[in-house]
């Protein structure tokens, strides 16, 4: 596969390490009342769609950036690649 890194251009996916669903950005609040339940869902339950999937890849043999890649799990077509940091901020993560 080829991942079009938003800053570096096309790179072979072999330069990257895969983590999983980009929902892993949405780490729950540890002090929430339902923290145990929320962390269980965060850590263990997956949508696992047959189709478009937002997922985290790490450019280990490259610039060490984490990316959010939007990829179809049925035909592997990649429609979007973003810096995970930008996505995280857009999802409200900060300090």
């Amino acid at each position: 596969m080829i991942i079009h890194h938003p800053l570096l251009g096309p790179r072979d996916a072999a330069e990257f390490v895969y983590l999983g669903d980009a929902a892993l950005i949405d780490r729950p609040d540890w002090q929430a009342e339902n923290a145990a339940e929320a962390f269980h869902a965060y850590g263990y339950l997956r949508d696992n769609p047959a189709g478009v999937h937002q997922e985290l890849w790490y450019h280990e043999q490259g610039d060490r950036s984490w990316l959010v890649v939007t990829r179809n799990t049925v035909n592997h077509e990649i429609s979007r690649v973003e810096l995970a940091r930008d996505v995280a901020r857009a999802r409200g993560r900060g300090r």
Binding site: L7, L8, G9, R11, D12, A14, E15, Q61, G62, D63, R64, S65
Partner: protein, 188 residues
């Protein structure tokens, strides 16, 4: 006078050969310092670079030569390397002072080893191990990329028409040299 002295033994010191018409050597006394741009203080960092080196930080994936022949290589939005000739083991401190501590610096000199390749067939040899496209229209002069060759992380720079500088981890220097050497042998 201290009782003991330490001699430097860079892993690839003295490497120099020519295979398939390509010269391959390990440049001596290359120093490398990483420059991290503090979050929220990038402008100050940029100004410090400009005032210290007389050039702006290049775009990501590019390098520029400063007036003093320091090559500034931009690797990520908040990370660059300064590559320059400097023999003593204080490159980190030297750069930090020069930049007035406006960036976080880490001496990377000993983390890496460098190999230089020069010759019209250098690209054809690198084709055996380098996954990225080195065609001159794609990988222009001054371009820089981190990638993987024979299981080793490598930072490759195009320093001239047929000239490349490759940097890889110092602990695996021998395997790195072997990989490049075999590539040259295989096209000879």
């Amino acid at each position: 006078m201290a009782e003991y002295t330490l001699q430097a033994e860079p892993p690839l010191a003295g490497t120099k050969m020519e295979i398939a018409g390509v010269r391959l050597w390990a440049p001596a006394d290359l120093a490398l310092v990483s420059l991290a741009l503090p979050l929220g203080r990038e402008d100050a960092a940029d100004r410090a670079i400009k005032s210290a080196y007389g050039v702006d930080l290049p775009e990501i994936g590019r390098s520029v030569l400063a007036e003093d022949d320091t090559r500034l290589i931009r690797l990520a939005p908040d990370l660059a390397f300064a590559l320059f000739t400097h023999a003593t083991p204080d490159a980190g401190r030297v750069v930090a002072q020069r930049l007035n501590d406006a960036l976080y610096t880490t001496d990377q000199t000993d983390v890496w080893v460098a190999l230089a390749l020069s010759g019209p067939d250098a690209r054809r040899a690198l084709e055996r191990i380098c996954p990225i496209d080195l065609h001159p229209q794609v990988f222009g002069l001054g371009h820089a990329a981190r990638t993987v060759m024979e299981h080793l992380g490598v930072l490759i720079l195009r320093t001239g028409e047929d000239d490349y500088l490759l940097l890889s981890a110092s602990s695996s220097a021998k395997s790195f040299l072997h990989a490049v050497e075999v590539s040259l042998h295989n096209i000879a």
